[in-house]
Structure formats: C-alpha cells, structure tokens
Symmetry: C2
Subunit: 345 residues, 2 copies
Amino acid sequence: MKEDKLPTIKEIAKQLNVSVSTVSRALHNHPSIGLRTKMRVQQLAQQLDYEPNQAAIFFKQRKTSTIGVVLPNLKEEFFSEAINGIEEIATKHKYNVLISQSRDDTERERMIVATMKNNRVDGLIVSLGANTTTYDHFTALKKYGIPVVFFDRVPSLPDFNKVYSNMNSGTREAIEFLIAKGHRRIGVLNGPEQMRSSQERTDTYMQVLVKRRLKIDLGLVTSTDLTREGTLKAMGHLLSQRPKPTAILAINDYIALDAMQYARQQKLRINKDICFVSYANLSITTYLQTPPMASVEQYPYRQGSEAAEILMELLSKTDHDGLPPEPETFRNVVINGQLVIHSKR
Amino acid sequence: MKEDKLPTIKEIAKQLNVSVSTVSRALHNHPSIGLRTKMRVQQLAQQLDYEPNQAAIFFKQRKTSTIGVVLPNLKEEFFSEAINGIEEIATKHKYNVLISQSRDDTERERMIVATMKNNRVDGLIVSLGANTTTYDHFTALKKYGIPVVFFDRVPSLPDFNKVYSNMNSGTREAIEFLIAKGHRRIGVLNGPEQMRSSQERTDTYMQVLVKRRLKIDLGLVTSTDLTREGTLKAMGHLLSQRPKPTAILAINDYIALDAMQYARQQKLRINKDICFVSYANLSITTYLQTPPMASVEQYPYRQGSEAAEILMELLSKTDHDGLPPEPETFRNVVINGQLVIHSKR
DNA sequence: CTGTTAGCGCGTTCAT
DNA sequence: ATGAACGCGCTAACAG
C-alpha cells in the first residue's frame, strides 16, 4: 500500500521520455512549452498525484514560506484571537505559521527566537514577554535578513516595526467614564513598569485626574507581574489605602478577574462597593454575573492581521532583493482602543 | 551590517583548507577525526556563528523535524493547554510544531491536512472537527508514511492511534453525584451524535439511571452542534420538559456557560433551581460566582503530551526504516476523567 | 584519519 | 520547443 517514493519531476520525465526541465516548465505553464507536451505532463502529474516537494523548493529558494509567531501564551483569548488574524493573512499568502510560547520568560523567548532563526523562518511576529527589556535577540535577526513585526506588547524603542493599541484614548475614556459615575478614588492595577502600555496608562491616568482637578494619590497606582500572586498582592495594597478606592482600572480582563475574586473575598460587592474597568474585552467576561463595568477593546484579531500584513509586505520586498538601501524605515501602526460598556449601573 | 551569506560548511572548509566532509564530521563529533582538526573546525564554526541550514538537512534527510497539529480552535483553554503538552514533548525531541485550526469545519480540516502533507510534516496530531465523520483525508496519509495520532476528539473507528478521556467513569461519577444530591430529573446536553464522546456519555447516563432505578426520559437527552445558538436551542428544549430537569450534564464548560446564561435568563437560579455539571474543568470557571457544581477533569496537558509521545515513538521507528511489516498495531490510550467538585451546595 | 564524490528535488541558465 | 548541466548545503558511501 505504502508507495515508498513520492513522485518527482524526474519520475514524470522518465515516464514521458522528456527532460526534467520540460516537466518543470510544463508544470509552471511556461510559455515556451508545446501545448501537447504540456498536457501530457500535467495529466500524468495529476494522475501520479504529484506534489512538488516543498522542502526542496525551500532549500533552493532559500526561503521557507514559514513565519514564526512568538507570544507569551495561547491561553489568553487575546492571543489566540490574534493568531486567527495572523493565520488568515498568512494562509492567504501561502505561508505556514510556526507558533511558540515564551510564557513570559525572557530566556525562553531567546531560545525560541534562536531556534526559529535556525529553522530559517522568513519572518517573525512577536508579542513580548512581560519581563523582556532587552531586544538584542531581535536586533540580531537583522543581519540575517529576518524581518520582525511586534504587536500588542511591543518594545518601547522606536526602531522596530509595531502594531499596538495605544492606551491613551481608551484609558481617557475609561477614567472619564468612572468619574462620570461619581468615582473619585480610582486605583490602577498596572502591569510591570517596563511594559510600554503600563507607562502610557499611568500617564493618561494622571493627565485626566489633573484635568478634572482630582487629587492624585500615588498609593493608588500599583503594578502586578501578571501572576495571580502578584495581582493579589497588588490588590492587597490598593485596598489598604484610605479611603479605599471605589473603582479599579486593571491592565486586562484576566487580571481583573483575579482582582475581583480578591475583592469578593474581602467582602466587597463587585459593581457596588467597588467597580472594575479593564482592557481586552474578552468574551468570557460576558459569562460573568458581574463582569467589569467596561472594557477597552483591543482588537486582537486586527492587531494580528495587521502585523501579518506588514510582515508579508516586508517579505515581498526582500524577495526581489534589489533592495535599494533605504534609510531603514519602520512601520508603526497604532490602533485606538474603544471603551465598551458592559454594565450600566 | 547585513552579511549576505550565512556561513556554510563549505566556507569553513575553504578557510581551513580541509574538505567539507571533514568539517561535517568534526561538527558532529565523528570519532574518526583528529582532535586537532576537530578543535580548529569547531572553533572557527563558533567564531563564524555557523548554524547548519536546517532546510538543507531536512531536504537531505527527507524529514522536516516538524509535526503538524490540527485542532478545532485555540480559543478553548482545553486545546491551548493540550498544545502546551504537545510543545513540551516536541521541543524535547527537537521537533517544530505547526499549528492550524479547523474551526470545526471538515472542509477546512481537509485543506489543512493537505497542506501539511505537502509541506512534508513528519507526523500529525489531530483533534477532530465536531462534524467530521469521514476519515479518508487521514487514511490517505498512510501511503505517504505520515503517522497520525488523534487526541480527545478521536475517530470512532478502531484503526487509528488515539489518546482520549473515556466518558464512562467520569460520567458515572457525575450522575451518581447528582443523584446523591437528590436530583431525579437530570438533563443531558450532549455534543453532535457523531462524536464518540457523545455516545459514550449517553450510554453511561442510561446505565446509571437503570442501575439506580430512575425513570428514563429521552426528552431529557439532547444535543448541541457546539455553537452558541445550538446550545441555546437545546436548552430551550430541555427546559420545556415537564417536570423540568433540576440538573444538567453539559458536554463541556463552555457549553455549560452558554447554558447557564440561558437558564439565568429564564429566571432560574444557578445551583439552586438548576445545577450544572460539565467536562473539562477549565480554570475560567473558578472565576465564576456560580461555577458548575462539578466538572469531569479531562487532563488536556496530559492528553497532548501522551499523543506527542506516541507520535515521537512512531517517528523514531520510521527512522530506521528497516520497518518489519508488523501487523499494523494501533495505540489506544484511555485516560479516566475524574470528577472534581466545585460547589458543595 | 581525511578527501572525493554523488545525490537529495527543483528551478534556471545556456545551449541547441 | 526542448534538453543538458549546474548548484543550493549537507550527509554518507567509498577511496585512499
């Protein structure tokens, strides 16, 4: 049953008593091939169930038609949704997608990038680990001609291609929303300080408070390392402030969930004693009886597909290789997060 | 900055005035290479930052060191967790992982399998789409020598390698649990009938009821196509039965969530008027104020890693290729689902 | 111990 | 319109 040998053009050539190059050309609809031969070749190919050996082609073309995707995890709906976006574009361009998770571990991230490089992926799409502060493992790729596009968790340095949702507009909306609801003590449950989004969030928070002439209490701004423990600890800190915050802005829905659980343990009633607003707008929150009052939608699908689109563009440029040494320009796509209100109360 | 050419063994050979094979052997610690030359080679390789071109190796060895993973989606924590298991094993064996989602669409599934085949993945790990009832796109792989291992959503035919959690023990425990809590009218919210697990679930359900001498009402056994709409419709059916069921066994946590939402809309109080027990035991349920009373743990990580382990084993056999035409034996690993109780009430 | 060579499957000149 | 030959980077069989 098992046909040991997959058909090759050579095989076809032999059977038809023509040369391999003829077969190759016929298969590619090269104009200079006789209609008759072309037909014969194509028919036999079909019949033999011939499929070109991608490995050989990759080898020859020096490209693998594969892009690597490195992200913190697949568990968060945000990232799996982003992958959908990436996959869609990649498939459209006949690219394969190699996915790997850094688990927010910079060391793992380095390893992954290294293996991907060795496997000669054509390009990389990356969302950084929470603790990654150095980018040399990415800059190193430049000399191999492997383009990198970051999304969501992007480096704070300018010289990278990135797609992300800026925190400004969304955060502004969120804070204004809470103020309008009467909240005066608003806590911030931020991510690690090295994350670009954390800084932006804090900045905007401050701005809005100043503009609204509310008192700024730095004790209300805290950060979690994104682990559950870190979040609980941060919440402990926030809730120990006096007076207690009546609302909390959390870096994302998962963190908000942990935080809400903690608050509930402290006998606080969600959306009554304390309100939550967070980022991402995940579908699971719709299942909660007491979801966050509002979420800043981050458009993961769009971020993924935009990043992939940019990468495809970069790759097509590399193709022709007559690359005029442009003054190295970087794509920087910013998506405005939109506040989505879940609970009227 | 960009070094156009990556170093090759040929390059190293030239610089050292030795032959490529010497370099190759030195790099592989071949015993028959002089210590001195070996050192020289390895040092220069290091210095040049030489990395073997995997594409070339793949091409030569006729294997890609890549396994494909086809599953319904990445969004469900069950699957992303399974991927962690797969990744762990694959990485350990120096394999890459190509992931693709069928979105429960058999047509997409076929396409994916076809591309993976053309990309010459060494093997496949698959969890079937909900509606897949034919397996010819998988059996076809046999003649290309591409082994397939299924997990969780496995074919109901015997001649495939599979890893799955059988529904019997877990379902039995679940029903007994509900009966012990005083429930007499227990509804079943099953998946599509073609799914192996659905049949098993129904069978066990019947068995336990018979054993406990409870009345069997076929109106209480219904199925959803796993879409939200399908689930709501099925719930409508279940809740229209008289007397209404007081407990419902749902095929998985996500479905349970949809079902609970529907119940809540019907002014039923979760865990009071109606109880839920489901399968999977996802971490998100811990965030719910009213989680399912109990879940049958399905061990996604373990399923993934076991499947990968089996695939690795199959692949290593293929390697030596002196495959004695064994009478085609299939691996069939069954994991017993364990009931985990969340709510005492 | 080391070098020479063939060949994996394909696309691509360069001839004819 | 077609064929012959080369080479991509690497391994392995064969020769010294």
